[in-house]
């Protein structure tokens, strides 16, 4: 499985909560804009009926100022722009109320629903943050600024203050929405699973499983071979045999062979280690009677992760072990080829071959030692064989991207 930053199907709750808060705040700004814009034809129609059309300038300037402040707050949402909206909006509301009431006694109280509309828009300040509760404070600030501006206008004009219910009802609804949002988010944080934690648990299981399967491959390559030697070998072991058995026991004690640390990378130094590892395998098999010829692209430098290098070396050794033990051939050929993204080893022998379809599911050889190893690091394996026609095992593993040229280095 791939590891790293990838698309997640569900946002973390914290992120989703910030989306909700922003969406609700934006709704508030749109409602405020609609309210202010609808005021324009409303004022025109009412002033026309009352023959006040010549007095439109002051209310319109007030509405314009508020719309400007709202646009700045909505498009560049910062605490300072929200504060600016409250201040500038309060000023605009003052101009609007003053312009509507001054010299127009016929408008009160019938047009109160129109006169206090901008004040309701000033309540819908929203928030610049990701949490809902600060929006309540901003709303209270807007409500206070709007109420104060309206009261000052009435006082200046010597008219009894008439605030109406609209701003209060708007504030109550506005606060209820954000408080509700806060309560729901709190309860959701406790109830809704964090997908990334679930994914982390899944990765842990996968890491454990991969380690298990590598342990299987390791045991297959070491003690199962040793047991086969004990069952079928000579009564007295020679030095090469005892050395190999002791080395296998030592390998089992060295648990780094099955380590799963996907972020550990080896670079050029690892390539040399890989090359040495391959030559060591070839040399070992040659000592045991198999002539191995390595051809193809053997001189280039390949960069791969530690996991990939370990899987490739293990698969190569297993392929050659199979040639030695099962093919009846005394020679094998390894062909190395590579692209920018992957390296391929092909192990050919001219031995007795086999029918791949006849290999039972309980046979571990190719399956765990080659297929599982290679596939566990994102590689692919192909086997061509037929009775009497030899066998070709091809496995491809991914390479790391080429390292960028260092500044000032050789081209």
């Amino acid at each position: 499985m791939s590891v790293g930053v990838a698309r997640v199907p569900v946002l973390p709750r914290k992120v989703a909560a910030s989306v909700s808060v922003f969406a609700v705040a934006r709704c508030g700004w749109v409602i405020a804009a609609v309210v202010l814009l609808v005021c324009i034809p409303g004022v025109v129609v009412v002033f026309d009926r009352q023959h006040y059309l010549g007095d439109l300038a002051e209310p319109f300037v007030g509405l314009g100022v508020m719309l400007l402040g709202l646009a700045v707050a909505g498009l560049h949402t910062r605490p300072v722009t929200l504060a600016l909206y409250i201040v500038v909006g309060g000023l605009g509301n003052y101009l609007f109320v003053y312009g509507m009431v001054a010299g127009h006694p016929a408008l009160l109280p019938a047009a109160l629903v129109l006169i206090n509309r901008p004040e309701t828009a000033l309540v819908l300040v929203g928030t610049s943050g990701q949490r809902p509760l600060p929006a309540v404070a901003w709303g209270l600030g807007g409500f206070a600024a709007g109420g104060a501006a309206t009261a000052i206008a009435y006082l200046q004009l010597g008219v009894p203050i008439q605030l109406g219910n609209g701003p209060g009802i708007t504030l109550a609804n506005y606060c209820a929405v954000y408080l509700c949002l806060s309560v729901i988010q709190r309860s959701q944080r406790q109830r809704v699973p964090d997908f990334l934690q679930l994914r982390s648990a899944t990765r842990r299981i996968e890491a454990e499983r991969t380690a298990d399967q590598r342990a299987v491959a390791l045991l297959h390559d070491t003690v199962l071979n040793d047991l086969a030697l004990i069952i079928n070998g000579p009564d007295t072991l020679d030095v090469r045999m005892t050395t190999r058995m002791l080395r296998d026991v030592e390998t089992l004690a060295d648990t780094s062979a099955v380590g799963v640390a996907p972020d550990d990378f080896v670079f050029d130094a690892g390539d040399a280690a890989m090359r040495n590892h391959v030559m060591s395998i070839v040399s070992d098999l040659q000592w045991r009677g198999l002539t191995v010829e390595v051809t193809g692209d053997t001189g280039a430098i390949y960069r791969m992760t530690d996991d990939v290098a370990s899987a490739a070396a293990g698969a190569l050794r297993s392929s050659l072990e199979n040639v030695l033990r099962h093919s009846g051939a005394d020679s094998a050929e390894i062909i190395v080829s590579a692209t920018d993204h992957a390296i391929t080893w092909t192990v050919n022998d001219g031995g007795r071959g086999f029918d791949p379809a006849s290999i039972g599911p309980d046979r571990l050889g190719l399956r765990s030692s080659v297929f599982k190893r290679v596939e566990s690091v994102g590689g692919v394996v192909k086997v061509w064989s037929a009775p009497g026609n030899g066998t070709s095992v091809l496995f491809t593993v991914p390479l790391l991207p080429s390292r960028p040229e260092e500044p000032g280095g050789e081209p």
Partner: protein, 375 residues
């Protein structure tokens, strides 16, 4: 990326707070309480009070229909359902209008259009912005025209155009708010999901297995063998008894290794929890990481609950002719439907985002079925 106009907030973030089970009915109730307050405040200015209560009941019904239709295991909210809910709201407005004509209520205090605006907002998490726009336009026009019909003749201060605006204002605001909410949630969520930039900081890192764990794994499988091999290597001589024991160990080890090698990730979960997995073709490993995480979350949530016996959890995977994998999950949950939903809905919804055709069948056992498309 799919256009934000064609997806609903529920589509892009089904576990979002707005899909909480009681939110739509609570918001509708708030609108109804406001209507009830105005009805009582202007008690003697309506022409027919009972019709106001009929209207209030219809708005509450619209909220209940939204709550019911928006429940996590219900099918996707379509145009028909959203239009039907708005229609119930419109009937509520008509009922109130019939009880208002001939009365002396000020137009600005007429509550049904406010309640209708609330209903538009309430359905917005389940509707695509495009559907909301299409279905809102007739509702806005309807509320404005009806307002004119009810109030235009009785008003001497407000000209007809203003009466239209006063009538259509709340629904216009509701529609604008709903569309903006729906569009904003969809577009921002999509952007964050697609780029992963917004969630990168929340990615936990997986600790590699430590040496002790790795040693345990090797030791578990090779405990008896390594000393045996070492003894023979050091002795340099193989006896018949050694050969017999080696053959016996090799047989047992081979069978253990085959078993270990065949375990899918689901077998690992089952091994830890006791649930039953029927996956003869080892299809569980076809699931991608997100599908595994979501399914594992659901299984763990179910089995961690005191009302679920983990031994009764059965999951079956079968290959389909089209290359997909059919999965059936059966859980004996000793809870009524509503509480089952409360327990499992967040996990069910998370799973829904990663698989296809997920269904929820209630019965004595809760049965979920879904499909994993070919990779």
């Amino acid at each position: 990326m799919t256009s934000p106009w064609t997806l609903s907030p529920q589509d892009v973030d089904p576990v979002s707070w707005f899909t909480g089970p009681r939110i739509p009915i609570l918001l509708s109730l708030a609108g109804v309480i406001e209507g009830l307050f105005i009805t009582l405040l202007y008690w003697d200015r309506w022409s027919n009070i009972p019709l106001q209560f009929v209207g209030l009941a219809l708005f509450l019904t619209a909220g209940w229909l939204t709550t019911s239709g928006g429940r996590p295991h219900r099918p996707r909210f379509g145009v028909a359902r959203s239009s039907g809910i708005l229609l119930v709201g419109c009937v509520g407005v008509v009922s109130s209008a019939l009880g208002t004509i001939g009365g002396t209520l000020p137009v600005e205090q007429w509550w049904p259009n406010i309640a209708l605006g609330v209903i538009i907002v309430v359905i917005s998490p389940y509707c695509t912005p495009r559907n909301l726009l299409i279905s809102s336009i007739p509702v806005v026009l309807f509320s404005g025209v009806l307002g004119m019909l009810v109030f235009a003749r009785a008003q001497d201060f407000w000209p007809p155009a203003t009466v239209f605006l006063l009538g259509a204002g709340p629904t216009t605001i509701g529609a604008a708010a709903g569309i903006v909410f729906s569009y904003t949630v969809v577009s921002r969520t999509q952007a964050m999901l697609d780029t992963a930039a917004g969630v990168e900081e929340f990615y936990p890192t997986v600790e590699p297995l430590d040496d002790a764990e790795q040693r345990d794994r090797i030791a578990r499988l090779s405990a008896r063998i390594a000393p045996f091999v070492e003894r023979i290597a050091r002795a340099g001589v193989i006896t018949d008894a050694d050969r017999a024991l080696a053959a016996q160990i090799a047989r047992r080890l081979r069978s253990e290794l085959v078993l270990e090698s065949d375990r899918s990730w689901l077998d690992v979960v089952a091994h830890k929890s006791g649930m039953i997995v029927s996956d003869p073709a080892r299809l569980a490993d076809r699931m991608n990481e997100s599908q595994r995480a979501a399914l594992q979350g659901l299984l763990v949530a179910a089995m961690d609950s005191s009302v679920v016996d983990s031994q009764t959890v059965l999951i079956e995977l079968r290959a389909q002719s089209d290359g997909s994998t059919a999965v059936a999950l059966s859980i004996d949950v000793d809870l009524p439907e509503g509480r089952r939903l409360v327990l499992l809905a967040p996990y069910y919804l998370t799973l829904k985002t990663t698989v296809e055709d997920l269904s929820w069948d209630d019965g004595r056992s809760l049965l979920m079925r879904f499909r994993i498309p070919p990779s």
